[in-house]
Amino acid sequence: MDGAAAAAPTATPTASPTPGSTHEGNGRALIEIRDLKTYYPIKAGILRRTVGQVRAVDGVDFEVRRGEVFGLVGESGCGKTTLGRTIVRLEKATSGEVLLDGHDVLAFDGGDLKKMRRRMQVIFQDPVGSLNPRMPISDIIGEGLLAQADKQNGWGERKVRDKRVSDYLEVVGLRRDYTRRYPHEFSGGQRQRIGIARALALSPEFIFADEPVSALDVSIQSQILNLLIDLREQFDLTFLFVAHNLSVVQYISDRVGVMYLGKLVEMADVAELYAHPRHPYTIALLSAIPDPDPRVKSRRLVLTGDVPSPANPPSGCRFHTRCWLRRQLNNPENCEKEDPPFRELASGHRVACHWAESVVDAAVADVVPTVDVEVPTDLPTAADVGAPVVTEIETPSVVEMAEAEEDAAVAPEPVRPEEPPGPTAGRV
């Protein structure tokens, strides 16, 4: 369209990158994040003295390249939303840098900050909570336009604004004349479309999408995902896409970062990450996804315990308290002593694990049903999928764990033994 989006010099991106290469933007970083930290103080006592810090984001380095969708996954409380919000200056960073085209976003104020806001927009998770129930759609979308109005764009004028609101309603698949309606008149999916229109109306280059489909039913979720993919092509957008649903992230992203307790633990091209995950946490996440294909029967890696508190993260590698690989390797010392560096394992594939080299695809395929195992339409049997490779992943007994970690919940049973070659599609 018009405005700043036109500045993006990339060729029209397509939604399907070839494996091994990133998105066909020019690969230049639009946003660089350097050692970013966001801490929240914990206050206690009548003097409200700061007694500690929640390290929501604790030293994160990565870049978002122009024209790509960078997916960020992790469980609740891992800091993925805080990270996104810090990048777009909705939270105050404690330290570090966020560079937008080489300029430090965190240092902006006044007019620069306002200009930056126009280039970086947000789509929020909750389509109900993020729309003011007392405002008609024209004001919800128009508010940002009004704030950014200048002589050039003429957004100060109601007529111009309303036309633009209608234009963008149309872009997101809603009717032009919905401008006078209120949020309660729309369904969840439609509200999310309004939230998207609001972000787009300012012609941003970068959109931080914070769990944009998590609150939606699966049939509506696919409508919104399709819309996002179309819009990305149409407007040359760059996305930071935060979600906890790994299938959604896999579907939409070009590169993916996995977060655990405020840190990135693994980052790679999407195909590489899902086919050759190397961090034990990533593998556990992938293993945990329930697969809607009943033919897929595999051992599941059950992570014990809960995510530790980010106010008091474990020493050394933060994942060591729940790590199956560490147990498998007989608890090497450096896991609890040294914080593993976020190092490059292969080109573009970074991992924060001392022992990432000891992970092999065969072992991964045993617990992650879809890894490197094609599921053709003519039905593999359970035996094919469950691979004969035997890994020695064991869940400790209740007693051991309770001793090891007081506050952790424990999977009550050891990982199920090999599934018997269960009902296969032959029955169908």
């Binding site: 699966v218 299938s247 809607p292 294909d293």
Partner: protein, 358 residues
């Protein structure tokens, strides 16, 4: 409607049927009219069996569960028809005293939100023993022992300390374990789990799913799982009933329903899940939205969104048509008169799955 089409031999009360829901209709009288949240739901569950009710928000799956537990507020709710046979007794006909014995004793329920469904001012031990005291011939001390044992059964570490804690001191996954312990404490014949893992993270969800499965296998309790997640369905149960707009639209074993869906809605749901094979392709979305409960379509409730629809669906609602033993679909495709439409449906379906595979 012609509900009689439904598998008659299944209805004849074969000895091992534990729960038989027949043409259940739960309606709510609200200011703007009647919301027919559940309007013709039929399914049955065997002793020790595992069945999932699947559907999107508003399809009536939770109301069905609450109806079985008789936890529907009346008014505005009312049972407008049908019956719920639990071991041959119609739960809808029981008086308050009788239903209280069933509720928690013979049928236990695990709710979605473990924080709001636990009492914040009672210790975990007291909450569990409360139910035990109500349903079992034990004294207070004995009830506490049962509570402790049930925590051990669900793998709660350090159970002696946990019984004295309050819900706020526990994590989400731990609370859900407490809920499961509570449900199990009275050795129910049926556990209804309403979205038990929806509020949990994926690694915690995995723990709870494994727990539910192992507990179910160990105790032989029947499981009625309410969920929207077809992945959870595939891994947890043996049989599925898919719901849409207050009706069951398809039933069958997990393998049959998920691999060879015989209702366009089920097919649409499966096709809209993002997966590895669909990377780079558009997701096939189901067009439109769930119908407004006050303006339900006249014929088939899915007809306005159905990519395969023809006139038959617009005019008359199809019955639940029997396709085989324990296999039904509420779609005109399976009426003999429309065999040519069925051929078209199967052809298109095949083409689609070939596309995804390639």
């Amino acid at each position: 409607m012609t509900e009689a089409v439904v598998a008659p031999e299944r209805r004849a009360g074969v000895g091992d049927v534990l729960l038989d829901v027949r043409d259940l209709r739960t309606h709510f009288e609200v200011m703007d009219g009647t919301v027919k949240a559940v309007d013709g739901v039929s399914f049955s569950l065997r002793k020790g069996g595992r069945l999932a009710l699947v559907g999107e928000s508003g399809c009536g799956k939770s109301v069905t569960a609450l109806s079985i537990m008789r936890l529907i507020d009346m008014p505005p709710g009312k049972f407008a028809g049908g019956e719920i046979l639990f071991e041959g007794r119609n739960l809808l006909k029981l008086d308050d005293r009788e239903i209280r014995k069933v509720r928690g004793g013979e049928i236990a329920m695990i709710f979605q939100e473990p924080m709001t469904s636990l009492n914040p001012v009672m210790t975990v031990g007291d909450q569990i023993s409360e139910a035990v005291l109500l349903h079992q011939p034990v004294n207070r001390k004995g009830a506490q022992e049962v509570a402790l044992q049930s925590l051990v059964d669900v793998g709660v570490p350090d159970p002696k300390r946990r019984v004295k804690q309050y819900p706020f001191e526990l994590s989400g996954g731990m609370r859900q374990r407490i809920m499961i312990a509570m449900a199990l404490s009275c050795n129910p014949k049926l556990i209804i789990a309403d979205e038990p893992t929806t509020a949990l993270d994926v690694t915690i969800q995995r723990q709870i799913l494994e727990l539910i499965k192992s507990v179910q296998e160990r105790t032989g309790t029947a499981l009625l799982l309410i969920t929207h997640d077809l992945g959870v369905v595939a891994e947890t149960v043996d049989e599925v009933a898919v719901m849409y707009a207050g009706r069951v639209v398809e039933t069958g074993t997990v393998e049959e329903v998920l691999l060879n869906p015989r209702h366009p809605y089920t097919r649409g749901l499966l096709e809209s899940i993002p997966s590895q094979g669909k990377k780079g392709q558009r997701l096939s979305a189901i067009k439109g939205v769930v119908p407004n409960p006050f303006r339900m379509p006249k014929g088939c409730k899915f007809e306005p969104r159905c990519p395969y629809a023809w006139e038959a669906g617009a005019e008359e609602e199809p019955p639940l048509i029997e396709l085989g033993p324990d296999r039904t679909s509420r779609c005109w495709l399976y009426d003999r008169r429309y065999a040519d439409h069925l051929a078209d449906y199967e052809g298109r379906a095949q083409k689609k799955s070939a596309e995804v595979a390639s």
